[in-house]
Subunit: 318 residues, 2 copies
């Protein structure tokens, strides 16, 4: 036995959104069928930031993502968030692979949102709104372009130059710069900001819009006017995580929203246990916090591809 | 930046018990002073075994051990327990090293017990009793030989040939085969079995003995006649873990022992917050469950030594 070593460059060479969409949707299906296990994250807090251990198992897969968040890293020219996955054989526990998980995280988050859009957005959606043109915007656009025939990606960022950079990074896609109100008037809207107060107002959102609320991933964070949630059919990736730190966490704390108002989970939607959109007027929201089964499913894909290619280094780690 | 890669062979070449004893004692001191953080382990259960994420931070160190337990692995010619540590810079979260942690676990466990013996056993102890001559016995012997002038290591194992193998593996030490009663009559006794019922009886233990109870590391496991605990001054590595799965867990469940009976923690002992042995008659017990600060302290030592030598591979992992 030996362990595959997949560094950043190797993972980037193996990542393909079409394949990631398949395995992430399958992960939600498997988990929804009760064939998975995802214990709560373990948090380690240090002076300058924190770390999270995110373990998960699915049929045929087991592993753990270890990811930090150090907000002041930009001043040191380092990413704020870096992640490593240890991917194991569930039958023996053997560590089959060690891999960079920074781009796996971006890809699985884009894929989960596009899967939610597939079930919740109008199937004739033509425009994608991007609010927050940082790293995560790339994979949201790539994933949605796989699922929808979009003719316009309406992009806004509060930082001058960010939307321009995104457009120049993705010349193959119809990225257009616009105001936040114009981005919010798109058929599908992705909010990708670190906001701690509502940035997207209720009266900007037209009937029939689907929103992927991605930015809120910790207590106190919110991007949407809570009145949007009250009008909308809300689907979450994980009820506990969303309640604790997703888009709904602040409205729940304030008593404006309740877990009883949640329509259901993405797993239930994929399995057909709950209905998706039934008319063209409903506003739908996917509250994404990011869950470990997504990471482990993509890690499994990376391992299989790397193993079959025979092109990546193996080490006698343990 | 790049990440040091330390495989099994590299870690074995760097491990030195004299140094491990220093950093593990320092870890208990730092943690006891409140300069550390060790959140509860996260458990991931799969059909054939389980995995544990063990995160910890100490001044200057952060990281996480990911360790499996798959009892049926022997039939596949694989170890039941394999472990990997991701060692991070607490200032930035950067993964400074990925390393095999299987032997780190054995060394830190041996070191913690020998440190407990240093504070709790009679300083003129001459004999070490080993009950259970498996992998863990090696590092218990090596660690105790660093701290004490022992003239005899009295070894018993229930499996024929195990004690003989230990003696032939360690020809430099005075390993002698004996009965379990003779091993239990040593000055310092280490119990290293997977027992789920008392294996060491109360009337075998003479006054003034120090016992390191290492084997019990999960609910339902116990090695000592609970009457020994009632006679003894009991020190634990972590009150919560020992109560949940250490040597005291079954007696506590049965109402024979109480957390109020615990003398204190090894950290308190190292810091002088509680007294150690005060006479030559007291029976003392160290209940070791194995804690993440021990692993991270040794990982820090491995990283420093490997970095300074410049002899180990670095990769652009993240």
């Amino acid at each position: 036995m030996s362990t595959l070593l997949l560094d950043k460059q190797a993972v980037n060479s193996l990542l393909n959104m079409e394949e990631v969409l398949v395995v992430v949707e399958e992960a939600f299906r498997t988990w929804g069928e009760g064939k998975g296990n995802m214990p709560p994250k373990a948090y380690l807090t240090v002076e300058k930031g924190d770390f999270r251990a995110m373990p998960a198992a699915l049929t045929g897969h087991a592993g753990m993502k270890w990811v930090n968040a150090h907000p002041n890293n930009k001043s040191r020219n380092l990413p704020s968030v870096m992640a490593v996955i240890i991917y194991n054989d569930p039958e023996t526990g053997y560590p089959l692979a060690i891999m960079d998980a920074t781009n796996i995280t971006a890809y699985r988050t884009g894929a989960a949102a596009a899967i939610a859009s597939k079930y919740l957005a109008r199937s004739d959606s033509k425009s994608l709104g991007i609010i927050g043109a940082g790293t995560q915007a790339h994979t949201q656009i790539i994933a949605h372009m796989e699922v929808f025939n979009l003719n316009s990606v309406n992009t806004f960022d509060i930082t001058p130059g960010s939307a321009e950079k995104l457009a120049s990074d993705l010349p193959e896609f119809p990225v257009k710069l616009c105001t936040i109100e114009e981005a919010a008037a798109s058929d599908i809207v992705c909010t990708l900001t670190p906001s701690r107060k509502p940035a997207v107002m209720n009266d900007w959102i037209k009937e029939g819009t689907h929103i992927n609320a991605i930015g809120a991933d910790a207590a106190g964070k919110e991007e949407l006017d809570p009145q949007i949630l009250r009008r909308a059919m809300v689907v979450v990736d994980d009820i506990k995580q969303s309640t604790a730190g997703g888009e709904i966490n602040v409205p729940i704390q304030k008593g404006i929203y309740s877990t009883n108002d949640i329509h259901g989970t993405l797993a239930d939607l994929v399995l057909g246990k709950i209905p998706g959109r039934t008319n063209s007027q409903t506003i739908t929201v996917f509250d994404s916090t990011g869950i470990a089964i997504e990471d482990i499913a993509v890690a499994g894909l990376m391992y299989e591809k790397a193993w079959q290619s025979g092109d990546y280094p193996m080490i006698d780690l343990v």
